[in-house]
């Protein structure tokens, strides 16, 4: 799992200038634009695979206008994989791998 510092370093806008005064639509939009660029710069297979994690900073209604695939936020897969009774070794290995992958995606 990447640390917050690692993620920040990879952003196109690692520093966002603090806004002074009462926020207006324009000033919020300006910050939102930078956050959008940062979110989109993170590679993710969620959504259409082309907009990174852009769905974290824009409304789903807007996201749906730019992406043909819906962005489905990953659910918490839990601490351990759920293994059926009498599962074979191969099945346990597969479920463990899938759980590890789901956990990584959920944490990213």
């Amino acid at each position: 799992m990447s640390s917050s510092g690692d993620i920040l370093e990879g952003f196109p806008h690692p520093m966002i200038t603090p806004m002074i005064g009462i926020p207006t639509y324009e000033s919020i939009a300006e910050i939102n634009l930078k956050l959008n660029a940062n979110a989109a710069s993170i590679h993710s297979n969620l959504g259409d695979d082309a907009h990174g994690l852009l769905a974290l900073t824009i409304d789903p209604a807007v996201y749906n206008t730019i992406s043909p695939d819906l962005f489905l936020p990953p659910a918490n897969p839990g601490a351990n994989p759920i293994l059926p009774d009498n599962a074979t070794v191969a099945c346990i290995a597969k479920l463990t791998r899938q759980h590890a992958a789901s956990l990584r995606i959920w944490k990213e």
């Binding site: 966002i16 603090p18 639509y25 324009e26 919020i28 939009a29 900073t57 807007v62 749906n64």
Partner: protein
């Protein structure tokens, strides 16, 4: 999770917490609040777009397009409207955006072939990014064609013909 946390830290650092303090939990702070929730809250409380603005946005979105200008200006006009309408909690749906953009382009009467191809396109492919790509190419082709005909002297020949008729 970690990306959202990092984005949230950036947002919280950029805007004074007086404007979103109501989202703060007494025990957990902003731990369970997403970046998008804070952005929505800011738009709803400070960046409110009035109903009059909303009508203006709609009018600007449907404004006629001048084909002598780069088509990017038209796309930008639509993109701005999409963004502002979403911020006003009155987001356009995909089909609404496409219908509006298509009608504006159709009214120019300059892209009949691309308009016909677009009408025949399956509904699933009729999305705004595809629309932009298709009509950008059509606009580019139109400009190239104009440049070619002018370069070949047809433009001046037509002018001479028009002068003869007069």
């Amino acid at each position: 999770l970690s990306t959202d946390k990092t984005l949230k830290q950036q947002l919280l650092a950029a805007i004074d917490n007086i404007y979103y303090r109501s989202l703060r939990n007494r025990i957990t702070g902003y731990a369970n609040v997403t970046t998008l929730t804070i952005l929505r809250h800011l738009c709803d409380t400070c960046g409110k777009i009035s109903p009059t603005d909303l009508i203006d946005i709609d009018t600007r979105m449907k404004a006629p397009y001048d084909p002598s200008q780069p088509i990017e200006l038209f796309f930008n006009q639509v993109d701005n409207a999409i963004e502002l309408a979403a911020a006003a909690n009155a987001a356009y749906t995909g089909p609404q955006i496409i219908a509006c953009a298509y009608n504006t382009i159709l009214q120019t009467g300059l892209f009949p072939g691309t308009c016909r191809d677009w009408r025949r396109c399956p509904a699933a492919q009729k999305i705004w990014p595809t629309f932009k790509v298709d009509f950008s190419l059509a606009h580019q082709e139109m400009r190239e064609l104009q440049a070619t005909t002018q370069g070949a002297g047809f433009h001046s020949a037509n002018s001479a013909l028009a002068a003869n008729f007069q």
